[in-house]
Symmetry: C2
Subunit: 181 residues, 2 copies
């Protein structure tokens, strides 16, 4: 299996900061058809599962524009421009969004967020023995409340849709696998 | 926690068929700031994990524009416009993309694809005792090859990045949980 499309034209439809939305007009290399594909370009993302010594997950509640609802997610964010090391971004985002820190961050894996339409990956980390060390440090556009959830309630919250973000669920299932829950 | 933003203006940046990309200029209700948020609007999606009686998963290989690579995914697709029943879409997409069918489709759950920037959900199904019943029925823009993967090789393929799509990984972890693997 290979790429059967030749890009004839790329149009930048939208750009804001590090996000671009592009449309590519393509011709098939075997069949006499052309088609437009779009893609979103981002930097890579990180998701962190902070677990306290009391076996609780430190989660974040925030309003999300995509679904016009408040969600319950694990902390996460985007790498800075030019930043190569996702673990550094994970430590920063964990501290900024929650005020928690951990002596070590354990890699749980990575995934391509949506290969059909997006170019980026999300890196997943477990932050064991996470401790509250200082206040949150949020951007002016962010409103984030913390919610501390016992590990043994995670499955129920997923099953009932109270945890619904696909990347958060993936992070939590990876963490459960790692912790052999 | 509630919504602290008031939408002042919505701009349709891009629309093609059932996909829209919108930008919303918003004002914060508590602080004197305004900010533009964008969102992608899709119909809902389905992902299916077809498992044969030989304990193999029927997967699809296809070129994906977002990451400019060929991926190994579970079959899936989008609901038709006006279609309310995801299980019907799951049966159709399974049959069209793979030529396989199953007497029953078992719900594994659903997830919001990306609440920050997208409005839609993905519904996950297990198709047990999946059988090849006819040839694929692909759109003119689709080139999809089948790859049949033993269930006990799934973890290795995820760990080594050969299976990388976040929604495919989520579908497979849900299936493993259901099958108690």
């Amino acid at each position: 299996m290979k790429k059967f499309w030749k890009v004839k034209e790329t149009n930048l439809i939208y750009k804001r900061g590090i996000v671009s939305f592009k449309e590519q007009l393509c011709e098939h290399t075997k069949r006499d058809i052309s088609h437009s594909f779009f893609k979103l370009e981002f930097l890579n993302w990180v998701n962190i599962v902070p677990v306290t010594k009391n076996k609780e997950v430190v989660m974040v509640k925030q309003y999300r524009f995509g679904i016009d609802q408040v969600t319950l997610e694990v902390p996460g964010g985007t790498l800075d421009e030019g930043e190569a090391n996702p673990i550094k971004a994970a430590r920063r985002e964990l501290l900024e969004e929650t005020g928690y820190n951990s002596n070590q961050l354990i890699s749980l894996g990575k995934a391509d967020v949506n290969p059909a339409i997006q170019n980026n990956s999300c890196f997943f980390y477990l932050a064991p023995e996470a401790k509250f060390v200082r206040d949150q440090d949020l951007d002016s556009t962010e409103d984030i409340e913390l919610e501390v959830v016992p590990l043994d309630q995670i499955d129920d919250l997923i099953d009932t849709g109270q945890i619904s973000h696909s990347l958060t669920i993936l992070a939590l299932l990876y963490a459960q696998k790692y912790l052999k829950l």
